[in-house]
Amino acid sequence: MLAEVTGSVGSIGYGLSAIGPGVGIGIIFGMGVQAIARQPEAYNLIRQNMLLGFALAEALALIGLVMPFVFGP
């Protein structure tokens, strides 16, 4: 073996899986805040869609958190 990663590889997996959703959630809420600033009367509509997008993006990070437990320590 040239190189081997030992120890808590699951934590590394979670860290990698949190990159994408981190960027995605930042974009979602950034654009949501911009949209509210442009049109404050649409706040409820924007908030609903913002929360929906947030939950869908965060699900991926949380699946990354749970998978190491699924495949055994």
């Binding site: 609903q48 929360l51 929906l52 939950a55 965060e58 699900a59 949380l62 699946i63 958190l65 749970v66 437990f69 320590p73």
Partner: protein, 274 residues
Amino acid sequence: MSALSMSAEVWATEGGTEGGESGFHAPGLGLFEWKPLFEIGPFGFTKPMLLAVIVTVLVVGFFWAAFRRPQLVPRGAQNVGEVLYGFVRDDIARSVIGKKGDTYVPLLVTLFFLIWIMNLMSIVPVAQFPVTSRIGFPAAMAAIVYLIWVPLGISRQGLGGFFKNMMFPPGLPSWIYPILAPIELVSNMFVRPFTHAVRLFANMFAGHLLIALFSVAAWYFLVENFGGLFFVGILGFLMAVVMTGFELLIQALQAFIFTLLTAVYISGALEAEH
């Protein structure tokens, strides 16, 4: 304090940590395993099941009592029940499906309040366990939702029409369809129920694990092993309080998202989305 110390000892000695040696042991998977309270033959009745029964009795009992003798001008429990029902009907069902979604509002109300109160059990003293962090409960609810929108879609759009509308949305360049169709099929038929359940499960799992971690850290560094690292204990205590507040938001949000996505799937089954 005694409940916290008792449960900290449970975490420190029972499942999730190794051996009985001293030192800080973070809670792990064992936090979610419960020995049965009593057994009927091979079937063990555990604390999550007891909490699920209690939650069901609470939710069903409240709505039953609220609408037992409905008055035209609501008072008391009926008033609260109407506000809660109206929230699900207006903000979730009607805004996503439209007026024809009124037939599905009982399902959505049931799902929303069962999930919310089950999630809430995480921060209720004595209970202190989110029922939905056992995969069985979200999986059963997601299975019910799946078994509703798939037959509904097939009966409304026809068997061939259902899959054609799913896999071949109109208005795309034709070379894309051989790539898109298998992706859409797998994504809608298999990944959807999986993420529907796991989103709720993983949120509650992670939240419970975090609160437990900070609470055990606070207990260990402040009480069991008070020494130079006591500020870690103070930090752990503050973080446990913060995470409890954060969990209040996440519990309601996850119940809302689960119900909202149920409404989205049903609306997609009632009429082809494109």
